[in-house]
Amino acid sequence: MIPAGSLLHAVALHKAYGRTPALDGADFSLHPGEVVAVMGPSGSGKSTLLHCLAGIIAPDSGTVRYGDRELTAMSDAERSALRRADFGFVFQFGQLVPELTALENVALPLRLNGTRRRDAERQAREWLERLEVDTVADRRPGEVSGGQGQRVAVARALAGRPRVVFADEPTGALDSLNGERVMSLLTDAARDTRAAVVLVTHEARVAAYSDREVVVRDGIAREGVAAV
């Protein structure tokens, strides 16, 4: 049964790596503009759940629906196209392209989606300003601090105006002050653009930025306590 108005909905997801089960019948749903924290201990399957929801990997069984489309029935090329157009990503270590400047990194998803370079870089610059890292626009990732790099990564995730942002331990490599700042900017910007956020974390203070928590344990997702 699909909850009314849900944007992303997963049912009975199973995924194993070899003989090790990562997801064992996980369910999940996400509404537009909603920030959901996926929590759980190390190895519980939360990143695997994120990857299945984002169409990065295909589950062994179960279904993932995005709007009226069935992700699990889509080809790899279709899922790639969907990720380019509708999703944004932030990872623990930013994973910025080291040879591109901050500006070019933020413009990258737009350019991959066909936006002209000039337009892409104009939009990217606006996002950098919004994330308060416009001063490092022309620097390469190796030349900026961890916090700045992560904010550039958030700008990159939001630049394409995605409907869903997937953030996998976005503050895992930052000190608490920088972590707080990144989370605040991420969730504020997401709410401003009505983007939903799937936030994988094991830190309660990070989960506190979410509207709702889902706890994954032994490959099964359970609804947690509302944070707000």
Binding site: S80, A81, E99, E104
Partner: protein, 811 residues
Amino acid sequence: MSPLPSRAGDGGGRGGGRDRDAAARRDPLAAPRTGPAVWGRDLAMGIRFAAGGGREGWIRTALTAAGVALGVAVLLLGASVPSLMDAWHGREKARENLGQVHQPRAADTTLRYASVDTTFRGTPIRGRLVRPDGAHPPVPPGVRHLPGAGRMLVSPALKELLDSPEGALLRDRLPYRIAGTIGDAGLLGPRELTYVAQSATLAAPDGYRIDHFGKNWDPTPMQTPAVLLVIMTCVALLTPVMVFIGTSVRFGYERRERRLAALRLVGADVGTTRRVASGEALFGSLLGLLGGAALFVGGRLSAPLITLWGINVFPSDVTPGPLAATLVGLLVPTAAVLVTLFAQRGITVEPLGVVRNRPPVRRRLWWRVALPALGALLLVPLTWGEKWTDTPLNTARFAAGSLLLLIGVTALLPWLVDAVVSRLHGGPVPWQLAVRRLQLNSGSATRAVSGITVAVAGAIAIHMLMTGMQAGYAAAYAESGKIPRIGLWGNARSWSGTEQALGALHATPGVTAARGTVDALIGPLPAAGRPQDDLRPWTLAVGSCAELRTLARLPSCRDGDVFRTTNAPGTDVPVAPGRTVDLNTAIGPDDQVTPQPWTVPGTTRPVQLRDPGREPGRFSYDLLATPSSLDLGRLNSPTAELQVDFDRATPDAVEHIRNTAARIDPMMNEYSAVDNPHDGPYTSVRNGLFIGAVITLLLIGAGLIISTVEQLHERRRLLSTLDAYGTRRATLGWSVLWQTALPVVLGLALALACGLSLGSLLLAMIDSAVTVDWPVVTAMTGIGGAVILFVTALSLPPLWRMMRPEGLRTE
């Protein structure tokens, strides 16, 4: 893993001998802190790591070994050249006697000896006629007994040819029964065509008497272009191999650095990690050394199949000198270790990873330009003035100049790539990713590409040199051989004999015309008690009126007439009618001859030569005489000079003429431009070089693949992230293509510039017109382009494997 010593210098130092002993007992490996034992242990550990690196490690080791093996094989071949030439010249000296200053008197131990070399379908055949004066004549090496009269000993290759259907025509020319074969000691090489025959009719003035074989003489030095070519080939083959060795020992640096960091974590000091890294490089290098030795030993077995510039040798001749071989064995592994240590400068392996202490390298132009400029400075003066001469200084200058020019290319390439890519902006995403990647670090790509650059530049220069040489020979032979004509000359005993020879030649298949005269030198009659006039001797031609008319415009002519020419070049004093001259004039300073006075008839008329001049095909006779006007027997060494025109359309016309000439007189010599001996060898050398260049390019391409895949592997997490973003595979595929193509294209451009410049300099050195071998330039550039596609195509599967979400997993 065995425990490793902690930081150098600490532990055991302060506690005195007892503490040290205790430490040694606890950990035997920690006992020796310095010295060869430590080096040996650490190198051995590195070798163990390299040998136990799994499939990937073995591929890298195999590529390193392949590069080193190629270098070792080329070095060993180069080191064999002196001993090869010594052996070759040694056998030539031992079997030859070019004539003794004081000819021995006929005795039991002497023989008359004459050279009867010939050519069969373009291949030279060395022939020697002997006629023993007694029962114990000398024998050349490789021969136990001289053959009996009318018999011959032949080389195995000549026997094979004579026994084959192709040799049927040659059998007519060598009318001797085969009595046996000549042993290896009497042959220059296994493919040499040679024979020794006994002629019962060999007599003075043909040949000369000798009492031994073996003569000290200076071997004919190689021709200038050939020397240039040999030096250039060695430089052009060795430089890319050296570059490749430098590149290949860096393969797998990322994994190696991780390993070394792990070693640091368990207590290894920085020195230890460097020695372990050197050991890893040493392993591939040692394998390469063995492979190179095997390649060399296997390759030299093919020596009998190769004939270059008339040199064909036995496999045993291709043996490097012991000193050179030892040097190769020591220097190559040492070079591998040094390159590894050099590559680690500015890098500190820390327990948690590698710290690169070096700031971004700013590539400076001045010293990069200085290298090729210095090379050009050494080479350009060699093109001035006279044609290049083969002196030790010139050879060293040439080798150093070429080496500097080629190495300069490898030094210029990184600067050029940096300079170009720093100016590139914009473009589609794949292009931008590639350009930015190169802007950030183009080192590994340019290192690999510099090998391609040197190989292509060297190949283009060598091909230009060879094309120029080949074109020069072809033009010269085409000019000389425009008229299908063979010149023959031999001792003339009488005019009637010469007429018979002309008749026989006329009757030969394919001959369209045969003409000739008997030529001799005559001089002023020496007066008793005073030295002979210091005058140039006059040249006399004796022939029928018909023959003389081909030489000069005669008003009228009857047998008995004599003519003096008025336009012969360089005549100081004309031969005036009524002057008494010496028909038996001395030709050499030691020529003891009896004067044969002859008075130039008063009826001698002046005539004009048709084509006066000293060049081939022109005439410089001072006196023309018909047969009855003088007795040929009184002349000193009269020579029959015959010219035979033939029809090119008649198959083997030239061989038929040679057979006729041999029947007339086996000692008859030939001069002709019908066989260009340089064409075949040059074509095969060019083909060989081309194949060598292609193999080098493929090897370097393999190195590029390794570098590219390693780079991709290093970035696998980033690739997974880009995949998560929905990046198309094609986008990253194109980016890999551009990333490979940019340095390769720039490298090829540089190679073209350098190759064409070096080739032009080489051609200028041999006074040849500059001609570019465009097919080779196109082919080499095409192969360079194919390498780009090859590298990209083989990099795509690992790229796509790494674009999988597994790379995002951290648990």
